[in-house]
Every structure is written in C-alpha cells, then in structure tokens.
Symmetry: C2
Subunit: 496 residues, 2 copies
Amino acid sequence: MTTPAYDRLLNQLKSLHLIQSVQGLLGWDEQVNLPPKSAGFRAEQMAEMARLAHETASDPELGAALTELESQLDALSADQQVVVREARRDYDRVVRLPAEFVSAKARHSSAAYHAWAQARAERDFASYAPFIERHLELAKQEAELQGWGDRPYDYAIDLHDPGFTAERIATLFAELTAGLVPLVRAIEAKAGNEPSALRGFPVDAQRTFLREVTARLGFDYEHGRIDVALHPFCEGSGLDVRMTTRFHEDEPLDSLFSSIHETGHGLYAQGLSAEHQATALGQYVGMAVHESQSRMWENQVGRSRAFWQFFEPRYRELFAGPLTDISSEQLYREINAVRPTLIRVDSDEVHYNLHIILRFEIEQALFAGDLAVRDLPAAWNDRCEALLGCRPQHDAEGVLQDVHWSGGAFGYFPSYCLGNMIAAQNWDRARQVLPELEADFARGDFTRLLDWTRREIHDLGNRHATLALVERVTGQPLSPQPLLAYLRDRYGEIYL
Amino acid sequence: MTTPAYDRLLNQLKSLHLIQSVQGLLGWDEQVNLPPKSAGFRAEQMAEMARLAHETASDPELGAALTELESQLDALSADQQVVVREARRDYDRVVRLPAEFVSAKARHSSAAYHAWAQARAERDFASYAPFIERHLELAKQEAELQGWGDRPYDYAIDLHDPGFTAERIATLFAELTAGLVPLVRAIEAKAGNEPSALRGFPVDAQRTFLREVTARLGFDYEHGRIDVALHPFCEGSGLDVRMTTRFHEDEPLDSLFSSIHETGHGLYAQGLSAEHQATALGQYVGMAVHESQSRMWENQVGRSRAFWQFFEPRYRELFAGPLTDISSEQLYREINAVRPTLIRVDSDEVHYNLHIILRFEIEQALFAGDLAVRDLPAAWNDRCEALLGCRPQHDAEGVLQDVHWSGGAFGYFPSYCLGNMIAAQNWDRARQVLPELEADFARGDFTRLLDWTRREIHDLGNRHATLALVERVTGQPLSPQPLLAYLRDRYGEIYL
C-alpha cells in the first residue's frame, strides 16, 4: 500500500540517490580518466553537484512528507517504516548543519589535504598540526550542532557505523588486543622476514587472471567494470559498479588481493536490491558491514588453501616463468606472508588490526583531551612500538601516513577492524550451515557462499543496524573471538 | 564593471554550464565505459540531470536578472550585452516550452530511436514512418510555441545555426550544386572505383600515430583525452575535452581522419575562453562553425600534400609491412580517394555535400507539405540517383541510414555542408594572410594556423552570429565558391 506522502518521499529519495550516483561517477572518473590539468574544473563540477545534492537532501518538502508519514506510521508496512526511519535520520543530520558550516568544513578539508600531502613529503608534522587542530574543533562543533555535544567521538563513529560507541569498541578491541598481541609475537618469532620471491609477473597476464578470478567469484561485469587507478576502490550502486586496481610486475599479490577485496565490496553493492536502491531497503548497513564483505572474500576465501587448490594451475599456466622455482607451499606462504611493517596499507592480515587499534586509541585520547595534537607523533611512535614492535624513524612512516584526518574523517578507522571481526564471525556461521563450502571452492564454485551472503545480508538492505544484523546472521553478539580463532587457525597452521 | 544583477546572472549561468558539462560527461561515459546492462540506470541518471538543467535554465530568478539588466543595458559593456543577449535567447526558448511538451518529445524520441534501429535492421520503412510523422508534428508544434509557427523549418535550422533560413541555404546550395555536379561527374569518370589497398595496419601502431598527429596539431592532452567508442565524437568544454575514435586493421584512414576531424572540434573547444565558458563569450557560435573547424583540420590540412610530406616517413616507419608496395603517390590517392557511395558517413569529401543537399531538399519538402512521409523512400531514391548517380537497393542504404530524424533533429544536416563552405572560405583567407602555412605543415608545424583560428574565431566566442563572423574573418559574405575552388584544385590535380 502506498500513500501520496509516501510517493512524494520516494520521489525525493530517488532524485537524491541519482544525484549521489552521479557524484560517485564523477569521483570515479577523476581517479581513472581525468586529464592531468582538468582537476580544477572537476572540483567545480563536484561542488555544483554537492550543492544540488544538499538542496535535495534538505528540501523542506522532504521534511514535510516525513512529518506527515510519522503521524500515520501504523498505516505503513514494516518496510515502509524502515524507509521513513532512515530517511528521517539522514534528513535531520543534513538540516541541522548550516550551509556555512558545511562549506567551511569543505574548504578546510581541501586546504588540509594539501597541507597533509606536503607535510608527508617533507616529513614535517608541525606544519600539518594546526589543520588537525582545526578539524578537531570542527568535529566537536558538528557533534554539538547534531545534539551529540557531550559525546563528539561517539558521533564521529556513528557517522560510519550507526549504533557503535567508543566504549563498545574499546571493550571489543581490548579483548582482541589481549588475544592478538601474543599470537602476533609468536608468529613473528617463526616467520622470519624474507622479502617476497614473486617478481616479474607480466601485467597483461595479471589482468587476465584477475578478471577470471573476480568473475568466478560472482562479480557481474554486465553491471560493472574494473579499471586502473592510483588506489584501489569500488564505487557505485548495484546497477553500475566501478572497481579499480593497479598493477606492478613485482607485486602481483597487491593487485590480485586488492581486487578480490574490491570485488567483495562490489558483490555487496550488486547484491543490494536494485529496485530499492534509493531507500534504506536497498542500501548498505554501515562501513563495518561493507568491510566485512570485502575482507571475507579477500582473506577467508581468497587466501585459503581450497581457493588456491582451484586457481593454482591456471596461475601457473599464466605465470610459468616467474613461478618456476616456487613450490605450491611457498606460493601459499607468499599469499599468507606475515611481515611486520610500519605502514597500515602494506600490512598483512595478522598485524592489520593492531594498526587500527593504535589509531583508535589515539583518536579517543585526542577527543578526550588527554592528548594534545602537538604530542601526536611521540604518542604514535610509543604506542606503535608497544603494539607492533617497531618504531617509525620519521613521521611519514608514522602519524603522517594516512589521509583520513586531513578530511576530518575521525571515527572511520575502527570500521576496518570491526569489519574483520564481522567477516570472521559470518564466515564461522557460513561454514557451520554450509559445511561443503571449502569443497565448493576447491572446485571453483563460489555460488553457495555468495547466495548465503545475499540471503542473510544483502537482501536485508539497511533494515537492521550492524550489531543487530550480526546477531541475526550468526546467532551471537559481535565478538573478537571468531577473528582470533580464524587467525590462530590460518596462520598457526603455517607458522606455529 | 559589474552589478548585483549581472553577478546573479553569472552565477545562474555558471550552475547551468556545470550541470550541462556533467550531462556531457555522462553521455561520454555511456559511449566509452558503460557496462552492457547499465543503460537503463544511466537513462535514469540522465533524466535526473536533464530535470535539474531544465530547472536551472528556466529559473524565474534568471529571468528576473535578465529583465533587470535589460532595463539598464547602457550601463553594461559591449561584452556584457552579448552575455545578456544570448542568455535571453536561451532563457526564452526554455520557458516557452511547457514541461509536458519537453517530456512528450523526449519520450517520443526514445521510442522513435528504437523504431528506427529496428526498421533499419529489417529494411522496413513503413514501421518507422509514423514516428517521423509524429516528430514532424512535434517540430511544428514547437515552432508554434516559440513564435515561429509560420516558418517551422526555419526554426529547426535556427536551433543549430542561428541566423540562417531555409531560403538562404537553398540559394547557397543551388549555387554549390551547379558547380559540384559537373565536377563530381568529371572526377568519377577518371577515378575508377578500386577498393582500398590499405590493409593490416596493427591497431597499437595506429593508436601511436594518431596520438602523435593529434598532439602535433595542437590538441592539449593535459586538458583532454581520446578513447575508443562505437562512433567518433568530441565532448566537453575547454578544460576537459573527450574525443573518441575506433580502430579497424583494414580501415586505417577511417580512424585517422575521424580523429583529426574530432581534433578540429577539440581545438575549437580548447580554444574558447576557459574563463568565460559559462557565457556566450566562451561558447561556440553554432554547429556550422564547429563543423568548419573540424573539416578544415581533417580535409584542407590533414589530406594535403604538405601534411603528408611531414608525416609520411613516420607513417612508413610504423607501418612498414602494409605499406611495402604502396608508393607515396598511391598513398596520397588513398587519402583523397573518390568513390561514390550511398552512405553519407562513408562518403569522400567530393560527394559528401551532395548527400547533404539531398537531405536538405527532402526536409524542405516535408515541412512545406510537398512530400508525404509515406512517399519519402521513393523521393529519396529518385533524388539520390539524380544527385549522386546511384540508387539505393533498399531503404537501409537510403532513407533509413541516418539516426537524426529519429531524435526529431530536423534542420541539422545543412550544418555539415555549411561547415564545409566556411572551412574552405576560412582556409582561403588563412593562406592569403599566412602564405607560409603549407611550408609550416611540411615541417610539422601547425601553430601558425592554430593561432590564426584562435585569434580570428575561437577568442570571439559567440559574440558574432555565423554569417557575420564569416564576413568578419574572410572579408566576404559566405559563398560556396571557395569550397568549389578548393575541391577543383585538390581533386583536379589528382584526377583531372
């Protein structure tokens, strides 16, 4: 059943979704196609689209439709109530921010990005510090405007993963840290630190393999594509998904696994209801759930023995030369190599969560006022040494390595680690109910797992917030134990 | 000097230009990148952008700013008056069309496009005829709404080339036909009709050569790019110009000359003032002038002996194999081959204008009511035989060959021929004032010609309408004689 007010709401949400999809495409095109000197013009196009998106998202007609629908909630179906609930949440968040605040933040982000890039190049934290200070102020001001003035960091987290709080994350991360640090140390003691033996993989053959793998995992190339960009990412909603990767002859696994990772995001995007993509019924739950999809395909699936049982013959066919002296076991160890690094994006799966925990602790201290921005480098380096066992020699390999804070994106890092936890917990559940999964993989068949994620997660859209969804899917509250067990299992078998 | 009203006008025009530039990019992406099954979603994105563009173009605030500025025209500079004049013209044209009319036409165009594609595939004109009928009705209705009810075909022409009328074009085309038909017949008698001897040109080397040529002609790859699409086109304004081409090993000249043609469009786009691209001061004059730029670079320049004096050694270096048995003179004849064809887009430069004259005559008769749609095929075939000396065996190589009418684009074809006339007339003038041009080309230097077009044409934006611009540039009213003289000269030297 539908009502005029509900139809009006849908029309507005559809306009907004289409404008946002165009924004996404412009962003993709900027990374993939933009001529070197067209960036200034693209920025103007993006600003105009942002203005139109804001105008649509804050249209008083939309607010009026919501108010009308809220006065007659009982007449709406459960699904329609979800649509109204999420649209209200988004609408309120948009209208509570004055236009001047939004444009001040955008201007500062742009300036801060350039300051960060220069500071990183020159290893000069001091020049960048005032920009972080100002972003912190803006973040607190924004939380205040949104009615979260007493919990600004919780607000930052909620922006990416509704329902989570710093306290909840701290509890989860403490339990994770307690189990992870001894495991990491034990593996490090056995793993050695040899550089990779994989070199000279021709790019064309990498492209062929990657395309075969991602298609077999289920990525629908009739509604999507993959291109080359500086950084891997995945953009778009189900009807047109654009992934990117990059190629390096001496780092074949970087391209392959970042592509499988993006394929996980792409499968989620393509799995969400195309019919409902303008509303919560066809939208993703939050960053952590999105990341759980990408990480499961990348790690639990892509780095498994069963996966390589199927793909190794083809891999050797395409890369006979560079793999001549590499045994199957050596290849599997390269795929699951554990090597400590100071750089998050270069990190293996075992160390990765420690990089995130470090950042979460730092952000908490910054927001609590327990850490001054000028003291960031020392705090970072100390904590890095304690958690990761190595100390940055300069800030470019320490506190200056990530772009996130330059855009004011606080509270974003935890999603990566929460996504890893959810991936492991989902994976446990999937294997319980589908014991034949790994036999499937060994035959090159991934449909049973994909169908399960479709049914259990994708089909639900954003009907349930992350924590509720995890319980619904796995029958258990979110916990770091499945991740710890998975890491012990996978890496213990190799190294311990 | 500026006023608040003028600033308001500029802001609105800038928004409109940015939205239109995004529409252009979406169109480019559709041809170049779109996944096979994403077309429906792209159509929705395009419709939303069209809605936003229409809303901006017809914003009453824009109309109010114009009215205010028109009441104080004397306070504006000459350039500002140009901006107001053109903005008024565009605004009036937009607001005179009711939204229902615009969407009815868009819906009919979409249906007619599919009907055309099917009719062409099945060589079945009758199934398509009602769609042309309806488009004719819509075109007359539109002219009526715009206040051109007594001259609907003139209105259609004016949409593409303001200032031209059917009568003016008929006079020009009659003079052209009188000179062209005997020339064509004389060349045909001598030229024979051998198929091309150019075969097996590797695509990668074609790409290399094309890139070198277009860059040397002056296309700025820091503000543009070239990609592969089904049809060659050029999209974008000066800060980000996207050209397309296509490759076929056995048709190397198709790709090369269509790319030089698109480069001509691209040079014009890149030559228009970047600062003023949102207003008439940085916008193109009309279709015919745009076409004059592309045709001059393609034909007068790209098919000249001087051009090939410079590029032939490199061409032979890249295509040593396929060119082994081809002498320089043979290559030059291939480049300027004259072969009658029924298909406009496959036509050589000598026959091309006759294809256009045929279409112009047919459109005139349709609008005058002298020709019924059901009689189109016979009229087309008769006139084709008279003008081009060959008769279609079926309608797919006759009246069904072009896409234009399926979109209701009447009055568009004449621009192609007017563009050829203007190109030849400009070229005459350029050679008069710059006698060293061909010596430049032989040295691979095209800057002097490009600078001249910048100065004489590009820099002026849309300050002067086409006919006035031609007189200003060449000192003479537009005439077909320079085109006739050029064709006699170029092709007489080879064939007569």
